[in-house]
Subunit: 302 residues, 2 copies
Protein backbone atom coordinates (compact mmCIF):
# COMPACT_ATOMS: atom_id res chain seq x y z
CA UNK A 1 0.00 0.00 0.00
CA UNK A 2 1.58 3.23 -1.20
CA UNK A 3 0.32 6.79 -0.91
CA UNK A 4 1.58 9.41 -3.36
CA UNK A 5 0.83 13.06 -2.66
CA UNK A 6 0.16 15.01 -5.87
CA UNK A 7 -0.85 18.24 -4.15
CA UNK A 8 -1.29 19.29 -0.54
CA UNK A 9 -1.95 23.03 -0.44
CA UNK A 10 -5.25 24.83 -0.05
CA UNK A 11 -7.20 27.37 -2.04
CA UNK A 12 -5.25 28.35 -5.17
CA UNK A 13 -2.79 26.34 -7.25
CA UNK A 14 0.60 27.95 -7.81
CA UNK A 15 3.66 26.78 -9.64
CA UNK A 16 5.30 25.55 -6.45
CA UNK A 17 2.18 24.40 -4.57
CA UNK A 18 -0.59 22.22 -5.90
CA UNK A 19 -4.11 21.78 -4.60
CA UNK A 20 -5.39 18.54 -3.12
CA UNK A 21 -4.91 15.27 -4.94
CA UNK A 22 -3.50 11.89 -3.91
CA UNK A 23 -2.98 8.46 -5.34
CA UNK A 24 -3.47 5.38 -3.20
CA UNK A 25 -2.12 2.11 -4.54
CA UNK A 26 -3.90 -0.67 -2.67
CA UNK A 27 -4.22 -4.33 -3.66
CA UNK A 28 -3.71 -3.60 -7.36
CA UNK A 29 -6.17 -0.71 -7.33
CA UNK A 30 -4.96 2.81 -8.07
CA UNK A 31 -7.42 5.13 -6.33
CA UNK A 32 -7.36 8.85 -7.01
CA UNK A 33 -8.49 10.95 -4.05
CA UNK A 34 -9.58 14.51 -4.90
CA UNK A 35 -8.53 16.23 -8.08
CA UNK A 36 -7.60 19.93 -7.88
CA UNK A 37 -6.78 21.97 -10.99
CA UNK A 38 -3.66 20.68 -12.69
CA UNK A 39 -3.89 17.15 -11.24
CA UNK A 40 -3.41 15.63 -14.69
CA UNK A 41 -0.06 17.42 -14.99
CA UNK A 42 0.96 16.11 -11.56
CA UNK A 43 -0.05 12.60 -12.65
CA UNK A 44 2.24 12.93 -15.68
CA UNK A 45 5.08 14.12 -13.48
CA UNK A 46 4.57 11.04 -11.30
CA UNK A 47 4.62 8.90 -14.48
CA UNK A 48 1.28 7.27 -13.66
CA UNK A 49 -0.41 5.09 -16.27
CA UNK A 50 -3.69 7.02 -16.60
CA UNK A 51 -5.87 4.02 -17.43
CA UNK A 52 -4.96 2.27 -14.19
CA UNK A 53 -7.14 4.83 -12.40
CA UNK A 54 -10.64 3.36 -12.34
CA UNK A 55 -12.02 4.94 -9.16
CA UNK A 56 -11.92 8.61 -8.18
CA UNK A 57 -13.09 9.76 -4.75
CA UNK A 58 -14.04 13.43 -4.33
CA UNK A 59 -14.36 14.75 -0.78
CA UNK A 60 -16.38 17.90 -1.51
CA UNK A 61 -17.24 20.41 -4.21
CA UNK A 62 -14.80 23.20 -3.37
CA UNK A 63 -12.64 24.02 -6.36
CA UNK A 64 -9.29 23.13 -4.84
CA UNK A 65 -10.55 19.54 -4.51
CA UNK A 66 -12.22 18.91 -7.88
CA UNK A 67 -11.60 21.60 -10.56
CA UNK A 68 -9.14 19.22 -12.24
CA UNK A 69 -11.71 16.43 -12.60
CA UNK A 70 -13.39 17.60 -15.82
CA UNK A 71 -9.98 18.02 -17.47
CA UNK A 72 -8.88 14.55 -16.43
CA UNK A 73 -12.13 13.01 -17.68
CA UNK A 74 -11.67 14.81 -21.03
CA UNK A 75 -8.05 13.75 -21.29
CA UNK A 76 -9.00 10.11 -20.67
CA UNK A 77 -11.32 10.43 -23.68
CA UNK A 78 -8.69 12.07 -25.88
CA UNK A 79 -6.21 9.34 -24.99
CA UNK A 80 -8.68 6.69 -26.17
CA UNK A 81 -9.62 5.24 -22.81
CA UNK A 82 -11.95 2.24 -23.04
CA UNK A 83 -12.25 0.93 -19.48
CA UNK A 84 -14.90 2.11 -17.04
CA UNK A 85 -14.40 5.03 -14.69
CA UNK A 86 -16.21 5.40 -11.37
CA UNK A 87 -16.50 8.76 -9.63
CA UNK A 88 -17.66 8.97 -6.00
CA UNK A 89 -18.58 12.41 -4.70
CA UNK A 90 -21.29 14.67 -3.30
CA UNK A 91 -24.63 14.97 -5.03
CA UNK A 92 -24.24 17.50 -7.82
CA UNK A 93 -21.00 16.13 -9.21
CA UNK A 94 -22.81 14.34 -12.03
CA UNK A 95 -24.64 17.49 -13.11
CA UNK A 96 -21.43 19.54 -12.93
CA UNK A 97 -19.44 17.18 -15.11
CA UNK A 98 -22.14 16.23 -17.60
CA UNK A 99 -23.10 19.87 -18.21
CA UNK A 100 -19.54 20.59 -19.29
CA UNK A 101 -19.45 17.54 -21.55
CA UNK A 102 -22.78 18.59 -23.04
CA UNK A 103 -21.64 22.10 -24.00
CA UNK A 104 -18.40 20.72 -25.41
CA UNK A 105 -20.44 18.15 -27.35
CA UNK A 106 -17.79 15.68 -26.20
CA UNK A 107 -19.27 12.66 -24.50
CA UNK A 108 -16.82 10.08 -23.21
CA UNK A 109 -16.27 6.97 -25.31
CA UNK A 110 -15.77 4.95 -22.13
CA UNK A 111 -18.40 4.26 -19.47
CA UNK A 112 -18.48 6.93 -16.78
CA UNK A 113 -20.36 6.08 -13.59
CA UNK A 114 -21.23 8.61 -10.91
CA UNK A 115 -21.88 7.45 -7.37
CA UNK A 116 -23.42 10.46 -5.69
CA UNK A 117 -23.14 10.71 -1.92
CA UNK A 118 -25.47 12.48 0.47
CA UNK A 119 -25.55 10.34 3.63
CA UNK A 120 -24.77 12.08 6.91
CA UNK A 121 -23.41 8.84 8.37
CA UNK A 122 -20.50 6.61 7.35
CA UNK A 123 -21.38 4.25 4.51
CA UNK A 124 -19.53 1.71 2.38
CA UNK A 125 -19.11 3.08 -1.15
CA UNK A 126 -16.79 0.47 -2.67
CA UNK A 127 -16.06 -3.13 -1.81
CA UNK A 128 -14.46 -6.11 -3.49
CA UNK A 129 -12.72 -9.21 -2.16
CA UNK A 130 -9.59 -7.30 -1.21
CA UNK A 131 -10.59 -3.76 -0.32
CA UNK A 132 -13.36 -1.76 1.34
CA UNK A 133 -13.86 2.01 1.14
CA UNK A 134 -16.19 3.80 3.55
CA UNK A 135 -17.02 7.48 3.93
CA UNK A 136 -16.04 9.54 6.95
CA UNK A 137 -18.52 12.41 7.33
CA UNK A 138 -16.60 15.58 8.21
CA UNK A 139 -17.50 19.05 9.48
CA UNK A 140 -16.94 21.65 6.76
CA UNK A 141 -18.78 24.57 5.14
CA UNK A 142 -20.29 22.29 2.47
CA UNK A 143 -21.17 18.59 2.53
CA UNK A 144 -17.84 16.78 2.88
CA UNK A 145 -16.64 13.22 3.31
CA UNK A 146 -13.28 11.83 4.22
CA UNK A 147 -12.62 8.26 3.12
CA UNK A 148 -11.36 5.19 4.97
CA UNK A 149 -9.51 2.70 2.76
CA UNK A 150 -9.14 -0.76 4.28
CA UNK A 151 -7.42 -3.87 3.05
CA UNK A 152 -9.28 -7.06 3.87
CA UNK A 153 -7.30 -9.75 5.67
CA UNK A 154 -5.32 -11.93 3.26
CA UNK A 155 -4.84 -15.73 3.55
CA UNK A 156 -2.85 -17.32 6.39
CA UNK A 157 0.79 -17.67 5.40
CA UNK A 158 2.46 -21.08 5.12
CA UNK A 159 5.23 -21.45 7.70
CA UNK A 160 7.93 -22.84 5.44
CA UNK A 161 10.15 -24.17 8.18
CA UNK A 162 7.18 -25.92 9.85
CA UNK A 163 6.11 -27.78 6.72
CA UNK A 164 9.65 -28.76 5.70
CA UNK A 165 9.73 -32.54 5.12
CA UNK A 166 5.93 -32.99 5.19
CA UNK A 167 5.62 -33.01 1.37
CA UNK A 168 2.13 -31.50 1.43
CA UNK A 169 -0.09 -31.80 -1.66
CA UNK A 170 -1.29 -28.56 -3.29
CA UNK A 171 -4.84 -29.05 -2.01
CA UNK A 172 -3.54 -29.22 1.55
CA UNK A 173 -1.59 -25.97 1.10
CA UNK A 174 -4.74 -24.23 -0.13
CA UNK A 175 -6.63 -25.56 2.88
CA UNK A 176 -3.97 -24.36 5.28
CA UNK A 177 -4.14 -20.84 3.78
CA UNK A 178 -7.89 -20.86 4.42
CA UNK A 179 -7.31 -21.82 8.05
CA UNK A 180 -8.07 -25.55 7.82
CA UNK A 181 -6.14 -28.12 9.84
CA UNK A 182 -4.00 -30.69 7.98
CA UNK A 183 -4.86 -34.36 8.17
CA UNK A 184 -1.99 -36.71 7.26
CA UNK A 185 -2.48 -39.89 5.25
CA UNK A 186 -2.24 -41.80 8.54
CA UNK A 187 -5.18 -39.73 9.85
CA UNK A 188 -3.15 -37.56 12.22
CA UNK A 189 -4.56 -34.03 12.63
CA UNK A 190 -2.00 -31.22 12.70
CA UNK A 191 -3.66 -27.97 13.88
CA UNK A 192 -3.49 -25.12 11.40
CA UNK A 193 -1.61 -22.76 13.71
CA UNK A 194 1.33 -25.21 13.89
CA UNK A 195 1.90 -24.93 10.12
CA UNK A 196 0.92 -21.35 9.35
CA UNK A 197 1.56 -17.77 10.37
CA UNK A 198 -1.04 -15.06 10.81
CA UNK A 199 -1.95 -13.13 7.62
CA UNK A 200 -0.06 -9.91 7.01
CA UNK A 201 -1.84 -7.23 9.05
CA UNK A 202 -4.30 -5.46 6.74
CA UNK A 203 -3.44 -1.80 6.23
CA UNK A 204 -5.85 1.05 6.76
CA UNK A 205 -5.61 4.61 5.46
CA UNK A 206 -7.87 7.49 6.47
CA UNK A 207 -8.11 10.63 4.33
CA UNK A 208 -9.72 13.52 6.23
CA UNK A 209 -9.88 16.84 4.40
CA UNK A 210 -11.43 19.39 4.68
CA UNK A 211 -12.75 19.57 8.21
CA UNK A 212 -12.95 21.59 11.36
CA UNK A 213 -11.73 19.94 14.56
CA UNK A 214 -14.27 17.12 14.80
CA UNK A 215 -14.09 14.60 17.64
CA UNK A 216 -16.95 12.36 16.34
CA UNK A 217 -14.44 11.29 13.68
CA UNK A 218 -12.18 9.57 16.23
CA UNK A 219 -13.91 6.16 16.64
CA UNK A 220 -14.01 5.66 12.85
CA UNK A 221 -10.27 6.04 12.37
CA UNK A 222 -8.99 4.35 15.52
CA UNK A 223 -5.63 2.69 15.02
CA UNK A 224 -5.30 3.35 11.28
CA UNK A 225 -1.81 3.01 9.88
CA UNK A 226 -1.84 6.46 8.32
CA UNK A 227 -4.16 9.36 8.95
CA UNK A 228 -3.97 12.25 6.47
CA UNK A 229 -5.65 15.15 8.26
CA UNK A 230 -5.96 18.67 7.00
CA UNK A 231 -4.04 21.40 8.86
CA UNK A 232 -4.82 24.56 6.95
CA UNK A 233 -3.70 26.89 9.72
CA UNK A 234 -1.18 27.33 12.51
CA UNK A 235 -2.31 27.99 16.09
CA UNK A 236 -2.08 31.75 15.62
CA UNK A 237 -5.06 31.51 13.22
CA UNK A 238 -7.22 29.18 15.36
CA UNK A 239 -10.16 31.59 15.28
CA UNK A 240 -9.96 31.78 11.49
CA UNK A 241 -9.83 27.97 11.37
CA UNK A 242 -13.03 27.77 13.41
CA UNK A 243 -14.74 30.38 11.26
CA UNK A 244 -13.85 28.69 7.96
CA UNK A 245 -14.30 25.15 9.35
CA UNK A 246 -10.68 24.16 8.91
CA UNK A 247 -8.21 22.73 11.42
CA UNK A 248 -4.93 23.83 12.96
CA UNK A 249 -1.90 21.55 13.12
CA UNK A 250 -2.47 21.09 16.87
CA UNK A 251 -6.10 20.10 16.35
CA UNK A 252 -5.12 17.54 13.71
CA UNK A 253 -2.51 16.17 16.10
CA UNK A 254 -5.10 15.93 18.86
CA UNK A 255 -7.39 13.84 16.63
CA UNK A 256 -4.44 11.57 15.75
CA UNK A 257 -3.55 11.19 19.42
CA UNK A 258 -7.13 10.39 20.48
CA UNK A 259 -7.50 7.87 17.64
CA UNK A 260 -4.12 6.28 18.47
CA UNK A 261 -3.12 6.16 14.81
CA UNK A 262 0.34 4.98 13.75
CA UNK A 263 1.35 7.93 11.60
CA UNK A 264 -0.16 11.35 10.98
CA UNK A 265 0.45 13.20 7.72
CA UNK A 266 -0.53 16.85 7.71
CA UNK A 267 -1.61 18.65 4.54
CA UNK A 268 -3.89 21.26 2.95
CA UNK A 269 -1.55 24.00 4.09
CA UNK A 270 -2.52 27.61 3.56
CA UNK A 271 -0.05 29.30 1.23
CA UNK A 272 0.11 32.27 3.63
CA UNK A 273 2.93 30.51 5.50
CA UNK A 274 6.20 30.08 3.69
CA UNK A 275 7.50 27.19 5.79
CA UNK A 276 5.52 23.95 5.98
CA UNK A 277 7.82 22.65 8.74
CA UNK A 278 6.05 25.00 11.18
CA UNK A 279 3.01 22.70 11.03
CA UNK A 280 5.13 19.74 12.13
CA UNK A 281 6.70 21.78 14.91
CA UNK A 282 3.29 22.68 16.35
CA UNK A 283 1.86 19.15 16.01
CA UNK A 284 4.70 17.02 17.39
CA UNK A 285 4.36 17.99 21.06
CA UNK A 286 0.83 16.51 20.86
CA UNK A 287 1.49 13.66 18.40
CA UNK A 288 5.13 12.73 17.91
CA UNK A 289 4.91 10.67 14.71
CA UNK A 290 3.74 13.55 12.53
CA UNK A 291 4.91 13.97 8.94
CA UNK A 292 4.45 16.84 6.52
CA UNK A 293 2.85 16.10 3.15
CA UNK A 294 5.04 16.94 0.19
CA UNK A 295 3.89 16.99 -3.44
CA UNK A 296 5.52 14.25 -5.47
CA UNK A 297 6.46 12.18 -2.41
CA UNK A 298 5.36 8.56 -1.91
CA UNK A 299 4.70 7.15 1.56
CA UNK A 300 5.00 3.38 1.94
CA UNK A 301 2.82 1.57 4.46
CA UNK A 302 5.00 -0.78 6.54
CA UNK B 1 0.37 46.61 -27.84
CA UNK B 2 1.95 43.42 -26.54
CA UNK B 3 0.82 39.82 -26.90
CA UNK B 4 1.97 37.22 -24.37
CA UNK B 5 1.37 33.56 -25.12
CA UNK B 6 0.52 31.59 -21.96
CA UNK B 7 -0.27 28.33 -23.74
CA UNK B 8 -0.41 27.27 -27.38
CA UNK B 9 -0.97 23.52 -27.52
CA UNK B 10 -4.17 21.63 -28.16
CA UNK B 11 -6.19 19.02 -26.32
CA UNK B 12 -4.46 18.09 -23.05
CA UNK B 13 -2.21 20.16 -20.80
CA UNK B 14 1.17 18.65 -20.01
CA UNK B 15 4.06 19.89 -17.95
CA UNK B 16 5.89 21.19 -21.01
CA UNK B 17 2.89 22.24 -23.12
CA UNK B 18 -0.02 24.36 -21.98
CA UNK B 19 -3.45 24.69 -23.53
CA UNK B 20 -4.70 27.91 -25.10
CA UNK B 21 -4.45 31.19 -23.26
CA UNK B 22 -3.07 34.59 -24.20
CA UNK B 23 -2.75 38.05 -22.72
CA UNK B 24 -3.17 41.12 -24.89
CA UNK B 25 -1.99 44.43 -23.47
CA UNK B 26 -3.71 47.16 -25.47
CA UNK B 27 -4.21 50.83 -24.50
CA UNK B 28 -3.95 50.09 -20.78
CA UNK B 29 -6.31 47.12 -20.99
CA UNK B 30 -5.07 43.65 -20.14
CA UNK B 31 -7.34 41.26 -22.06
CA UNK B 32 -7.23 37.52 -21.38
CA UNK B 33 -8.07 35.40 -24.41
CA UNK B 34 -9.12 31.82 -23.64
CA UNK B 35 -8.27 30.11 -20.39
CA UNK B 36 -7.23 26.43 -20.52
CA UNK B 37 -6.58 24.42 -17.36
CA UNK B 38 -3.62 25.80 -15.44
CA UNK B 39 -3.84 29.32 -16.90
CA UNK B 40 -3.66 30.84 -13.43
CA UNK B 41 -0.30 29.15 -12.88
CA UNK B 42 0.93 30.49 -16.23
CA UNK B 43 -0.23 33.98 -15.22
CA UNK B 44 1.83 33.70 -12.03
CA UNK B 45 4.86 32.59 -14.03
CA UNK B 46 4.41 35.66 -16.23
CA UNK B 47 4.17 37.81 -13.05
CA UNK B 48 0.86 39.34 -14.12
CA UNK B 49 -1.06 41.45 -11.63
CA UNK B 50 -4.31 39.46 -11.53
CA UNK B 51 -6.63 42.39 -10.87
CA UNK B 52 -5.52 44.17 -14.04
CA UNK B 53 -7.49 41.55 -15.98
CA UNK B 54 -11.03 42.92 -16.30
CA UNK B 55 -12.13 41.31 -19.56
CA UNK B 56 -11.86 37.65 -20.53
CA UNK B 57 -12.75 36.47 -24.04
CA UNK B 58 -13.56 32.78 -24.51
CA UNK B 59 -13.59 31.46 -28.08
CA UNK B 60 -15.55 28.25 -27.51
CA UNK B 61 -16.55 25.72 -24.88
CA UNK B 62 -14.00 23.00 -25.53
CA UNK B 63 -12.04 22.23 -22.39
CA UNK B 64 -8.60 23.21 -23.66
CA UNK B 65 -9.92 26.77 -24.09
CA UNK B 66 -11.84 27.32 -20.85
CA UNK B 67 -11.37 24.67 -18.13
CA UNK B 68 -9.10 27.10 -16.27
CA UNK B 69 -11.76 29.83 -16.11
CA UNK B 70 -13.63 28.62 -13.02
CA UNK B 71 -10.35 28.28 -11.13
CA UNK B 72 -9.28 31.79 -12.08
CA UNK B 73 -12.65 33.24 -11.08
CA UNK B 74 -12.38 31.44 -7.71
CA UNK B 75 -8.81 32.59 -7.18
CA UNK B 76 -9.80 36.21 -7.87
CA UNK B 77 -12.33 35.83 -5.03
CA UNK B 78 -9.83 34.25 -2.65
CA UNK B 79 -7.36 37.05 -3.35
CA UNK B 80 -9.98 39.61 -2.35
CA UNK B 81 -10.71 41.06 -5.77
CA UNK B 82 -13.15 43.98 -5.71
CA UNK B 83 -13.21 45.29 -9.29
CA UNK B 84 -15.64 44.06 -11.90
CA UNK B 85 -14.89 41.15 -14.22
CA UNK B 86 -16.45 40.73 -17.66
CA UNK B 87 -16.53 37.36 -19.41
CA UNK B 88 -17.40 37.12 -23.12
CA UNK B 89 -18.14 33.68 -24.48
CA UNK B 90 -20.68 31.34 -26.06
CA UNK B 91 -24.13 30.95 -24.59
CA UNK B 92 -23.87 28.42 -21.77
CA UNK B 93 -20.79 29.88 -20.15
CA UNK B 94 -22.83 31.62 -17.47
CA UNK B 95 -24.66 28.42 -16.53
CA UNK B 96 -21.39 26.45 -16.47
CA UNK B 97 -19.63 28.87 -14.16
CA UNK B 98 -22.52 29.75 -11.86
CA UNK B 99 -23.43 26.08 -11.33
CA UNK B 100 -19.93 25.45 -10.00
CA UNK B 101 -20.09 28.52 -7.74
CA UNK B 102 -23.50 27.37 -6.49
CA UNK B 103 -22.34 23.88 -5.46
CA UNK B 104 -19.24 25.35 -3.81
CA UNK B 105 -21.49 27.86 -2.02
CA UNK B 106 -18.82 30.40 -3.00
CA UNK B 107 -20.27 33.41 -4.78
CA UNK B 108 -17.80 36.05 -5.88
CA UNK B 109 -17.48 39.16 -3.75
CA UNK B 110 -16.81 41.19 -6.91
CA UNK B 111 -19.23 41.81 -9.74
CA UNK B 112 -19.07 39.15 -12.43
CA UNK B 113 -20.73 39.94 -15.74
CA UNK B 114 -21.34 37.40 -18.48
CA UNK B 115 -21.76 38.54 -22.07
CA UNK B 116 -23.09 35.49 -23.85
CA UNK B 117 -22.54 35.25 -27.58
CA UNK B 118 -24.63 33.42 -30.13
CA UNK B 119 -24.55 35.56 -33.30
CA UNK B 120 -23.46 33.85 -36.50
CA UNK B 121 -22.11 37.14 -37.87
CA UNK B 122 -19.35 39.43 -36.65
CA UNK B 123 -20.49 41.77 -33.87
CA UNK B 124 -18.88 44.37 -31.63
CA UNK B 125 -18.67 42.99 -28.08
CA UNK B 126 -16.54 45.67 -26.39
CA UNK B 127 -15.86 49.30 -27.20
CA UNK B 128 -14.46 52.32 -25.41
CA UNK B 129 -12.72 55.48 -26.62
CA UNK B 130 -9.47 53.63 -27.35
CA UNK B 131 -10.31 50.09 -28.29
CA UNK B 132 -12.88 48.00 -30.15
CA UNK B 133 -13.30 44.22 -29.98
CA UNK B 134 -15.40 42.35 -32.55
CA UNK B 135 -16.12 38.67 -32.98
CA UNK B 136 -14.85 36.63 -35.91
CA UNK B 137 -17.21 33.69 -36.48
CA UNK B 138 -15.15 30.56 -37.22
CA UNK B 139 -15.86 27.09 -38.53
CA UNK B 140 -15.43 24.49 -35.78
CA UNK B 141 -17.30 21.53 -34.29
CA UNK B 142 -19.06 23.75 -31.76
CA UNK B 143 -20.04 27.44 -31.88
CA UNK B 144 -16.75 29.33 -31.98
CA UNK B 145 -15.61 32.94 -32.32
CA UNK B 146 -12.24 34.42 -33.00
CA UNK B 147 -11.75 38.01 -31.85
CA UNK B 148 -10.44 41.10 -33.61
CA UNK B 149 -8.82 43.65 -31.29
CA UNK B 150 -8.45 47.12 -32.79
CA UNK B 151 -6.91 50.29 -31.44
CA UNK B 152 -8.82 53.40 -32.41
CA UNK B 153 -6.83 56.16 -34.13
CA UNK B 154 -5.14 58.47 -31.63
CA UNK B 155 -4.85 62.30 -31.98
CA UNK B 156 -2.79 63.94 -34.74
CA UNK B 157 0.75 64.54 -33.54
CA UNK B 158 2.20 68.07 -33.26
CA UNK B 159 5.12 68.54 -35.69
CA UNK B 160 7.57 70.14 -33.30
CA UNK B 161 9.91 71.55 -35.92
CA UNK B 162 6.96 73.07 -37.85
CA UNK B 163 5.56 74.96 -34.83
CA UNK B 164 8.97 76.19 -33.64
CA UNK B 165 8.79 79.99 -33.20
CA UNK B 166 4.98 80.20 -33.50
CA UNK B 167 4.43 80.33 -29.71
CA UNK B 168 1.03 78.58 -29.94
CA UNK B 169 -1.41 78.82 -27.00
CA UNK B 170 -2.50 75.55 -25.34
CA UNK B 171 -6.00 75.77 -26.84
CA UNK B 172 -4.49 75.95 -30.33
CA UNK B 173 -2.38 72.82 -29.67
CA UNK B 174 -5.50 70.93 -28.59
CA UNK B 175 -7.28 72.06 -31.74
CA UNK B 176 -4.39 70.95 -33.93
CA UNK B 177 -4.46 67.47 -32.34
CA UNK B 178 -8.13 67.24 -33.22
CA UNK B 179 -7.37 68.17 -36.83
CA UNK B 180 -8.38 71.85 -36.75
CA UNK B 181 -6.49 74.51 -38.72
CA UNK B 182 -4.63 77.22 -36.82
CA UNK B 183 -5.70 80.85 -37.15
CA UNK B 184 -3.05 83.42 -36.14
CA UNK B 185 -3.89 86.63 -34.25
CA UNK B 186 -3.53 88.44 -37.59
CA UNK B 187 -6.24 86.18 -39.05
CA UNK B 188 -3.94 84.06 -41.19
CA UNK B 189 -5.10 80.43 -41.57
CA UNK B 190 -2.38 77.78 -41.40
CA UNK B 191 -3.74 74.40 -42.59
CA UNK B 192 -3.57 71.61 -40.01
CA UNK B 193 -1.42 69.33 -42.14
CA UNK B 194 1.39 71.91 -42.21
CA UNK B 195 1.74 71.76 -38.41
CA UNK B 196 0.92 68.13 -37.59
CA UNK B 197 1.82 64.56 -38.44
CA UNK B 198 -0.57 61.67 -38.96
CA UNK B 199 -1.56 59.74 -35.81
CA UNK B 200 0.44 56.62 -35.00
CA UNK B 201 -1.05 53.84 -37.09
CA UNK B 202 -3.59 51.96 -34.94
CA UNK B 203 -2.65 48.33 -34.34
CA UNK B 204 -4.92 45.39 -35.03
CA UNK B 205 -4.70 41.85 -33.69
CA UNK B 206 -6.80 38.90 -34.86
CA UNK B 207 -7.10 35.76 -32.73
CA UNK B 208 -8.48 32.83 -34.74
CA UNK B 209 -8.69 29.49 -32.92
CA UNK B 210 -10.14 26.88 -33.31
CA UNK B 211 -11.20 26.68 -36.94
CA UNK B 212 -11.12 24.65 -40.09
CA UNK B 213 -9.72 26.36 -43.20
CA UNK B 214 -12.32 29.10 -43.61
CA UNK B 215 -12.01 31.64 -46.44
CA UNK B 216 -15.00 33.79 -45.36
CA UNK B 217 -12.72 34.93 -42.52
CA UNK B 218 -10.33 36.71 -44.91
CA UNK B 219 -12.12 40.06 -45.44
CA UNK B 220 -12.51 40.57 -41.67
CA UNK B 221 -8.81 40.30 -40.93
CA UNK B 222 -7.36 42.02 -43.98
CA UNK B 223 -4.07 43.77 -43.24
CA UNK B 224 -3.99 43.13 -39.49
CA UNK B 225 -0.62 43.56 -37.83
CA UNK B 226 -0.67 40.11 -36.28
CA UNK B 227 -2.85 37.13 -37.07
CA UNK B 228 -2.78 34.26 -34.60
CA UNK B 229 -4.23 31.31 -36.49
CA UNK B 230 -4.54 27.78 -35.25
CA UNK B 231 -2.43 25.11 -36.94
CA UNK B 232 -3.25 21.93 -35.10
CA UNK B 233 -1.87 19.63 -37.79
CA UNK B 234 0.86 19.27 -40.39
CA UNK B 235 0.00 18.57 -44.03
CA UNK B 236 0.31 14.81 -43.54
CA UNK B 237 -2.85 14.98 -41.37
CA UNK B 238 -4.91 17.24 -43.65
CA UNK B 239 -7.79 14.74 -43.78
CA UNK B 240 -7.85 14.57 -39.99
CA UNK B 241 -7.84 18.37 -39.86
CA UNK B 242 -10.88 18.49 -42.13
CA UNK B 243 -12.67 15.83 -40.11
CA UNK B 244 -12.06 17.55 -36.76
CA UNK B 245 -12.51 21.07 -38.17
CA UNK B 246 -8.97 22.17 -37.47
CA UNK B 247 -6.34 23.68 -39.81
CA UNK B 248 -2.96 22.65 -41.10
CA UNK B 249 0.02 25.02 -41.05
CA UNK B 250 -0.30 25.46 -44.83
CA UNK B 251 -3.98 26.35 -44.58
CA UNK B 252 -3.27 28.94 -41.89
CA UNK B 253 -0.52 30.39 -44.09
CA UNK B 254 -2.91 30.57 -47.02
CA UNK B 255 -5.41 32.57 -44.96
CA UNK B 256 -2.59 34.94 -43.88
CA UNK B 257 -1.45 35.34 -47.48
CA UNK B 258 -4.96 36.04 -48.79
CA UNK B 259 -5.62 38.55 -45.98
CA UNK B 260 -2.24 40.23 -46.57
CA UNK B 261 -1.49 40.39 -42.86
CA UNK B 262 1.85 41.65 -41.56
CA UNK B 263 2.77 38.72 -39.33
CA UNK B 264 1.33 35.25 -38.80
CA UNK B 265 1.74 33.44 -35.51
CA UNK B 266 0.87 29.75 -35.57
CA UNK B 267 -0.38 27.91 -32.48
CA UNK B 268 -2.70 25.24 -31.04
CA UNK B 269 -0.21 22.56 -32.02
CA UNK B 270 -1.12 18.93 -31.56
CA UNK B 271 1.23 17.31 -29.06
CA UNK B 272 1.65 14.35 -31.44
CA UNK B 273 4.53 16.18 -33.12
CA UNK B 274 7.66 16.71 -31.08
CA UNK B 275 9.03 19.63 -33.08
CA UNK B 276 6.96 22.82 -33.39
CA UNK B 277 9.42 24.17 -35.99
CA UNK B 278 7.91 21.81 -38.55
CA UNK B 279 4.80 24.01 -38.62
CA UNK B 280 6.91 27.02 -39.58
CA UNK B 281 8.73 25.02 -42.22
CA UNK B 282 5.46 24.04 -43.90
CA UNK B 283 3.92 27.53 -43.67
CA UNK B 284 6.78 29.74 -44.86
CA UNK B 285 6.73 28.77 -48.55
CA UNK B 286 3.16 30.15 -48.59
CA UNK B 287 3.56 33.01 -46.10
CA UNK B 288 7.12 34.04 -45.35
CA UNK B 289 6.63 36.08 -42.17
CA UNK B 290 5.38 33.18 -40.07
CA UNK B 291 6.30 32.78 -36.41
CA UNK B 292 5.74 29.89 -34.02
CA UNK B 293 3.90 30.59 -30.77
CA UNK B 294 5.88 29.80 -27.66
CA UNK B 295 4.47 29.70 -24.12
CA UNK B 296 5.88 32.51 -21.99
CA UNK B 297 6.98 34.60 -24.97
CA UNK B 298 5.82 38.18 -25.56
CA UNK B 299 5.37 39.58 -29.07
CA UNK B 300 5.61 43.37 -29.43
CA UNK B 301 3.56 45.13 -32.10
CA UNK B 302 5.80 47.56 -34.02
Amino acid sequence: MDLTILGCHSATPRNDSHTTSQLLEIKNHLFLIDCGEGTQMQLRKARVKFFRIQHIFISHLHGDHFYGLIGLISTFRLLGRENDLHVYGPTGIKELITLQLKYANSWTNYKLFFHELSAQVSECVFEDENVRVTTLPLDHRVYTNGFLFEEKPGPRRINKSAIAGLELPVAALKGLKKGQDYVTEAGEVIPNHQLTLDPIKPKRYAFCSDTAYYEPLVPFIEGVDILYHEATFLAQHEALAAKTKHSTAQQAASIAQQAKVETLILGHFSTRYNNDQLFQKEAQPIFENTLIAEAGKTYHFR
